[in-house]
Amino acid sequence: MSLRATTSQTIGPYLRIGLEWMQIEELAPRGVAGERVTISGRVIDADGKPVNDAAVEIWQANSHGRYASPEDKQDKPLEAAFRGYGRSLTDDEGAFRFSTIKPGRVPGPGNRMQAPHLNVTLFMRGLLKQLVTRMYFPDDAANAADPVLALVPAERRATLIARRVGEGALEWNVILQGKGETVFFDF
């Protein structure tokens, strides 16, 4: 007989007490292979107000397209110095930031390769369970054939693609509700 998964509850307003010890905004120490990128953004609510109590977590493959997880058995190089996990707690302006490398491509459904992406999980007061979304990279030819982006209504795809704001600098905002609402996934 199978068990039932425990019910999710909100992370509440005091998440910093428990999660701040492992804030990881710099994912790739020197020597890790790949194109360096900084990602900055804000989490915005339905009234356009910054969400100052969110945890933004990212999970990504290395530049070769391999996840540092025993579940990834691909024959591609692993890098001991790169775990691929980041956690940023938003500040008073709702801002989060990461400094990392652009991931390589990983396989997706139907034997199609996915475009480079970050897997993003958000927790905050007012969410009884996490929001799950993805961030894709601008001007990447692979986006057009990405099997997950293809599931998103065309007019909303842009919400998942970061904007280039400078050399190696990307901006990507998360809008929880309303105009420009970010695409979230039923995971």
Binding site: L3, T6, Q9, Y14, W21, G126, L131, F184, F185
Partner: protein, 236 residues
């Protein structure tokens, strides 16, 4: 590419919706547009691995993080982390945080008129062992008022955050205490229709792990999503 065995979707009424107006903060933060069903790919069934170099043995004893002992009733909180297929999950990072015995959080946002305890931070961590077990020593948190509705009080609870072997197993939840009169009034505890599901958030009094003349014990087992029994070529 080998096919991916996806994780099971939640059972009906066992997981909350995003919009739940009785919990007022959901109204401005819940997405309004339809969610897009995400197939489980390598991205979803992998997750970060944490090591014993990051989590120290002392991190699980919240009563010994300062010079003196915190005020309050010492308790042991322990349990197992399993998946829905009853497999114990080893090496799972469990993070907890809580209010002090007076119902006050060590956080600038908490202005409840109850004393802070200089000997209590209220944060702990544990990496589950080979059998998926975890164990914390802490003090029983106090109930506290909040502004969700008139005369709103949160039942006593401990926040839990867990990683899984796939990122879609990631779970943040709250553990409650048996017999708490505030549970039935709490919009978080009552956020799912399935009564059995919410009652699984209530820990059990744990006589076996009670330490004579030192600490009562509570048991809280946590179940993360399990994978389907057969792989699916295209997810769903």
């Amino acid at each position: 590419m080998p096919s991916i065995t996806p994780y099971r979707r939640p059972y009906w009424d066992t997981q909350p919706d995003y919009l739940f107006p009785k919990y007022a903060s959901t109204v401005k933060r819940a997405p309004a547009l339809p969610l897009v069903v995400l197939p489980h790919t390598l991205s979803e069934v992998t997750a970060p691995v944490f090591g014993y170099d990051e989590v120290k043995p002392g991190d699980s004893d919240l009563t010994r993080q300062h010079k003196g002992e915190p005020v309050g009733e010492r308790i042991v909180v322990s349990g197992r982390v399993l998946d829905e297929n009853s497999r114990p999950l080893p090496g799972i990072l469990v993070e907890i945080w809580q209010a002090n015995a007076a119902g006050r959080y060590n956080h600038r946002v908490d202005q409840h008129d109850a004393p802070l305890d200089p000997n209590f931070t209220g944060a702990g961590r544990f990496l589950t062992d080979k059998e998926g077990r975890y164990r914390f020593m802490t003090i029983r948190p106090g109930e506290y008022p909040w502004r969700n509705h008139y005369n709103a009080w949160r039942p006593a609870h401990i926040h839990f955050s867990l990683f899984g072997q796939g990122i879609v197993q990631r779970l943040v939840t709250q553990m409650y205490f048996p017999g708490d009169a505030l549970l039935d009034y709490d919009p978080m505890f009552t956020c799912v229709a399935d009564e059995k599901a919410r009652n699984r958030l209530v820990s059990l009094f744990d006589w076996e792990n009670t330490i004579p003349e030192y600490a009562l014990a509570y048991r809280f087992d946590i179940v993360l999503r399990g994978r389907e029994q057969t792989p699916m070529e295209h997810g769903r």
